[in-house]
C-alpha cells in the first residue's frame, strides 16, 4: 500500500488492517512522519513534532500485536496531543514561551487512557496561546495554517490539531474546547470534532483555561473515528471531581446510520446573528439531507441564546485570571497582548458578578434543556464564515465588521455554557473552503449526536474531500 493511501485512511479502516496484521503500526507511523516532513513547513501544526519516541511506541505496538495482544481499534494508531495535555517526559508549553522549558512529569488521564488503548502518542500540536483564542494565531511558536489555503486561519484554539488531522499528518488528535476550540478548527479545516458533555472526559493533567467551561475532546476526519477515540477518552476519573459516573455507552455500536423519527430543531436566533449567506445555504442544504433520510426539521425559539456572550465572558475571564494571576503579575509582558489585557480585565471582576453569571448560566441551561424536550438535537452552522485570511484584522459578513472572537464563537460557546455535547462535521464548501455543521444534543447523549453526524456522513461525501496541500 502506498504512503499516499495510508495517511488519509480512516481509523476504522486502519484498525481493521492492523488487527489482521496486514498493516504494521511502524509502517503507518512512518507514513505519518513522512507526511509531517512533507507538509509541516507550510502548516506549523506542531510545537513538538513527533519523532523517535513515536517510532519506538509503534515498534512496541507491533510486538504486542504480533504476540496476539491486540488491544482494540486505537492500537498502533498515531494520535497527536494538543500541547495542553501532559505527556510524561514531553514538553508542555501551552503555546507560550513562558512554559517553553516545562516538561510534564506524569500523563494526563486522557493520555494515560490512550496509551493503555495502545495509541501512539504522536507529538504535541500547536495552539492559540494558553488556549485563549479562536484564531490559531501564535506569535511565540508561529501561526497555524489552514491546509485548504495556507494563507488562511486554521482556527483555534486547537488549530494545530485541526490542520494536522485535515492534512493527513495523523488520523487523530486531541483538542480542548472552552468556547469552541475543538469545533472551530474542525469547521475551518473541514474535519469532524466533538466537544463531549462536561464531565464526560477527565480534565486531569490538561492545563485549564476556565475550569467550568473546559472540555477535552477528539478531532478526526470522520464521525466514526471520533466515536472510536471518545470511547477510550471518556469515563469517570477520581482525579477530576467534575467527571460523571454515568455509564459510557458503546459509541461505535450506536452508529446505526438511521435517523428516522429524529427531531431536529433549528434555533431561529441563529439566523439573526451575522452569517455568510453562502454558509447558511450549505447548512440549509444539510437540513434537507436530514429530511431525506427520515428526520424532521423544525424551527425553534431560544431566547437566552442572545445572552451567550454576556454569561460566558465573565466566567471565562474570572476563571482564566484566577488560574494565571501569579504568573500574570510577574510576567505579564511575556503574554500575547490580546491575552494579557483579557486576563488583566479579569482582575476587576467581583465575586458578585461571577456568581450572577453562574446563576444566569443555570437559567440558560434550564431553557436549553426545555428546548431539548421538544427536539432531539439543535442544529445550525458551526461558524458564520469560512476560514478568514491570516492577515485579516477583522471579520466581515456582507461588509459589516463582526469582530473575530465574537463571530468565531457565536454558535459554539452556548454549548460550553450548558456543557451539552456538540459535534462539528463538514457540510459544504464556499470558494474551496469548508463549511461546518454543528449538531448539539442532550447532556451525556453523545451517542445520538454521533449517530446523527455519522448518518449525515453516510449520505454525503464532504468529509472525503482532501485539501490541496
Amino acid at each position: 500500500m502506498s504512503v499516499s493511501e495510508l495517511h488519509y485512511l480512516s481509523v476504522g479502516k486502519l484498525s481493521e488492517l492492523i488487527s489482521t496484521k496486514k498493516l504494521s503500526p511502524v509502517e503507518l507511523t512512518e507514513a505519518c512522519l513522512h507526511r509531517v516532513e512533507a507538509t509541516e513547513s507550510r502548516l506549523n501544526s506542531f510545537i513538538t513534532p513527533p519523532g523517535d519516541e513515536a517510532l519506538a511506541a509503534a515498534r512496541k505496538a507491533e510486538k504486542e500485536i504480533t504476540k496476539g495482544e491486540y488491544k482494540g481499534p486505537l492500537h498502533g494508531i498515531p494520535f497527536a496531543q494538543k500541547d495542553l495535555f501532559h505527556v510524561e517526559g514531553m514538553r508542555n508549553t501551552c503555546g507560550s514561551k513562558i512554559l517553553d522549558r516545562f516538561v510534564a512529569d506524569r500523563d494526563s488521564t486522557v493520555v494515560s487512557r490512550l496509551k493503555n488503548a495502545g495509541a501512539i502518542i504522536f507529538g504535541k500540536t500547536n495552539l492559540h496561546q494558553f488556549a485563549f483564542g479562536p484564531t490559531g494565531l501564535n506569535a511565540d511558536y508561529g501561526h497555524m495554517h489552514n491546509p485548504w489555503d495556507v494563507g488562511r486561519l486554521a482556527g483555534g484554539s486547537s488549530g494545530g490539531s485541526g490542520s494536522a488531522v485535515a492534512s493527513g499528518q495523523c488520523p487523530l488528535a486531541t483538542g480542548t474546547d472552552t468556547g469552541g476550540s475543538v469545533r472551530i478548527p474542525a469547521s475551518l479545516c473541514g474535519i469532524s470534532g466533538i466537544k463531549p458533555t462536561y464531565g464526560r472526559v477527565s480534565r486531569y493533567g490538561v492545563e485549564p483555561l476556565a475550569w467550568t467551561l473546559d472540555h477535552p475532546g477528539p478531532m478526526a476526519r470522520t464521525v466514526e473515528d471520533c466515536a472510536i477515540a471518545l470511547q477510550s477518552m471518556a469515563g469517570y476519573d477520581p482525579k477530576d471531581p467534575a467527571t460523571s459516573k454515568q455509564e459510557v455507552p458503546d459509541y461505535r455500536e450506536s452508529l446505526t446510520g438511521k435517523v428516522k423519527g429524529l427531531r431536529i430543531g433549528v434555533p431561529e436566533e441563529y439566523w439573526q446573528s451575522p452569517v455568510d449567506p453562502r454558509v447558511r445555504a450549505s447548512v440549509e442544504e444539510a437540513l434537507g439531507v436530514f429530511k431525506k433520510i427520515g428526520a424532521t426539521v423544525k424551527k425553534v425559539s431560544w431566547p437566552m441564546y442572545k445572552h451567550s456572550a454576556t454569561i460566558s465572558t465573565p466566567l471565562i475571564y474570572a476563571e482564566a485570571t484566577a488560574y494565571h494571576r501569579d504568573q500574570l503579575l510577574k510576567r505579564g509582558r511575556e503574554y500575547d497582548p490580546s491575552i494579557r489585557w483579557r486576563l488583566e480585565v479579569g482582575l476587576f471582576i467581583t465575586a458578585e458578578d461571577y456568581l450572577t453569571a453562574l446563576r444566569a448560566r443555570e437559567a440558560y441551561n434550564q431553557e436549553t434543556l426545555g428546548l431539548l424536550k421538544d427536539v432531539d438535537l439543535l442544529v445550525g452552522p458551526t461558524e458564520p464564515v469560512v476560514a478568514p485570511l491570516i492577515e485579516a484584522t477583522d471579520l466581515r459578513v456582507n461588509g459589516v465588521p463582526i469582530g473575530a472572537i465574537g463571530a468565531l464563537t457565536q454558535y459554539t460557546r452556548p454549548f460550553n455554557i450548558t456543557g451539552f455535547p456538540a459535534l462539528s462535521v463538514p457540510c459544504g464548501f464556499v470558494e474551496g473552503l469548508p463549511v461546518g455543521l454543528q449538531l448539539a444534543g442532550r447532556p451525556f447523549d453523545e451517542a445520538t449526536v454521533l449517530n446523527t453526524g455519522y448518518s449525515y456522513q453516510q449520505a454525503t461525501d464532504w468529509h472525503e474531500r482532501r485539501p490541496p496541500i
Binding site: Y198, A242, T313, R342, E344, V345, F348, L358, R359, R361
Partner: protein
C-alpha cells in the same frame, strides 16, 4: 461590546495598582482601561437579567433537572 458605567481613568489606575498590576506603562494601561470599560458594558447587561426565579447554585452540572 457596549460601554459600561464609567469610572475615571484615575480611579481605574488606583484599582489596578491595588490589584497588583504594574501601572507604569501608560500606553498599555490606556489599552486595558479601554477594554475594561467595554467589559463593564457586558457586566451591566448581566446585571439586568431577571434571575429572580433561578435558584442560586454553587456547583455546575450540565444535567441538573
Amino acid at each position: 461590546m457596549p460601554e459600561g458605567p464609567k469610572i475615571s481613568k484615575h480611579d481605574f489606575l488606583k484599582l489596578a495598582a491595588l490589584n497588583g498590576l504594574d501601572t507604569s506603562d501608560g500606553e498599555h494601561m490606556d489599552e486595558v482601561y479601554k477594554h475594561y470599560t467595554e467589559f463593564m458594558g457586558v457586566i451591566e447587561q448581566l446585571r439586568k437579567l431577571d434571575l429572580g426565579d433561578v435558584e442560586p447554585s454553587n456547583i455546575f452540572s450540565p444535567a441538573r433537572e
